[in-house]
Amino acid sequence: MVLTLVSAAVVGWLIWSVYFSPTPHEPEEELNEPVWDGDMREGNAPAPMWWFWLILGATVFSVGYLMLYPGLGSFSGMLNWSQDARVSNAYEHYQNQFQPVREEILAASLEELQSSSERMNTASRLFARECAACHGRDAGGQLSMFPDLTDQEWQWGATAEQVEQTLRSGRRASMPAWSGVIEESQIEPLVDYVIAMDDSDAEQMPGRAVYMTYCVACHGAEGEGNAMFGAPSLQDDDWLYGGDRASVLTSIAAGRAGVMPAFDDRLNDAQIRLLVAWLTREQ
């Protein structure tokens, strides 16, 4: 505040000294000064008046500005303007503008949303923006790491409620690393059994006993999986991390810890509902 006022005072003094207090010239001093065009020498013509009016106008403007807007130290200005309030108000207005549509979406049933091509297009764009980086543009999964969302296999459950839960809170799978827990000699038979599980004669395989000791708690007696823990079914041919021997061996020995981030605070309720409808639609 002091600085602003001091600067203003200095500018005022400068203008005053230029226009209203011309320095008188001593004749003997003028003798040594350069002269141009016959009679033009330094300090013998006043600065142009338009320049004075320009500065006066700018001064009036800045006084008004400093009264209305923050600028004078901690004085917040008569309009009480702040950048934060500007964004908050604009954001609120923006949110309100979409409120009717959001309420419409939240009131509609999943089937209604799924049968509306307009809603599904919105959801598809939303998916491209928020989800495609991991699951791919076509939702077909990527890289033996990010699951395919177009198939029937849902690690954390396929119902709308489960999918919504996955979206909102994220998921944190934790397949432990069994190397060191299961004896080295028993891991190979276990891999054989897990791969051959859906065959009819798998019951007789030596790996079954190991499976029933360590794996059954999460993946179930028949390898049916458990959506509660995100334990995938081992019966089918769908392998997120690869179904070949080496991949299955790595999964068992080193463990897997897939993470789905939480979107609860990134997306609003209507957006999540649209995504749930889009993901659970008939394909």
């Binding site: 600085l3 600067s7 320095t23 008188p24 010239h25 001593e26 001093e29 300090g43 950048q83 934060d84 500007r86 964004v87 908050s88 604009a90 954001y91 923006y94 495609a132 980086a133 991991c134 543009r137 990527q142 890289l143 790491m145 990010f146 897939g258 993470v259 789905m260 981030p261 939480a262 605070d265 990134r266």
Partner: protein, 209 residues
């Protein structure tokens, strides 16, 4: 008179003239700099802003070394479009432990200030090693060497923390002593991912914008 002769002296003596110019421009600079030095909002950490952990600090140095800030900004501007896309706009108090800040000035890639938690660690790994394996249309370069370089060799972490401590970052002696141990066995990739995963997490999204 005196005013005129002082003017004359200044005009005819180059050294004095240079000095005079410096004084005048220094006043212009000081008027802008002095008030900022005392501005509380620039020194008070916002939300849960804390000094970087040893791992995140190392990741930050890698971020600087690889020039990430050339293509990525770290400032969500107070505009609806940005707030809607990235999250709450950046507060000045979030950068109190950034020396130097990495706001950047050009977005070839997206802003990264509210990146924390948006992707999983695994995604960051594959994406840094080979961006096009997850985003086919990406123009980001790959950084495969991060995977092989140990994080403990990115400068002397204890020295770094001591210097920052002297500059006023509230590191405790315990934190500085434990730092090398925390970097033990980590690669540069791990450190960078740790840094990215805490970016902008000090401000809660529920308080948006």
């Amino acid at each position: 008179m005196t005013g005129m002769s002082l003017h004359k002296k200044l005009e005819e003596n180059t050294g004095l003239l240079i000095f005079g110019i410096l004084v005048v421009s220094a006043i212009g600079g000081l008027v802008q700099i002095l008030p900022v030095l005392n501005q509380e909002s620039l020194e008070t950490p916002t939300g849960s802003t804390e000094p970087y952990s040893a791992v995140a600090l190392t990741g930050r140095d890698i971020y600087i070394r690889e020039g990430c800030s050339v293509c990525h900004t770290q400032q969500v501007r107070p505009l609806i479009a940005e707030v809607e896309r990235y999250g709450p706009y950046s507060r000045s108090g979030e950068f109190v432990y950034d020396r130097p800040f990495l706001w950047g000035s050009k977005r070839t890639g997206p802003d990264l200030h509210r990146l924390a938690g948006k992707y999983s660690d695994d995604w960051h790994r594959v994406h840094l090693l080979d961006p096009r394996s997850v985003i086919p249309e990406s123009v980001m370069p790959a950084y495969p060497w991060l995977e092989d370089a140990p994080a403990s060799e990115v400068g002397d972490i204890q020295k770094k923390m001591q210097v920052l401590q002297r500059l006023g970052h509230p590191y405790t002696q315990d934190q500085i002593e434990a730092a090398p141990q925390q970097l033990e066995g980590l690669t540069e990739l791990d450190a960078l991912v740790a840094y990215l995963q805490q970016l902008g997490s000090a401000v809660s999204r529920e308080e948006a914008p």
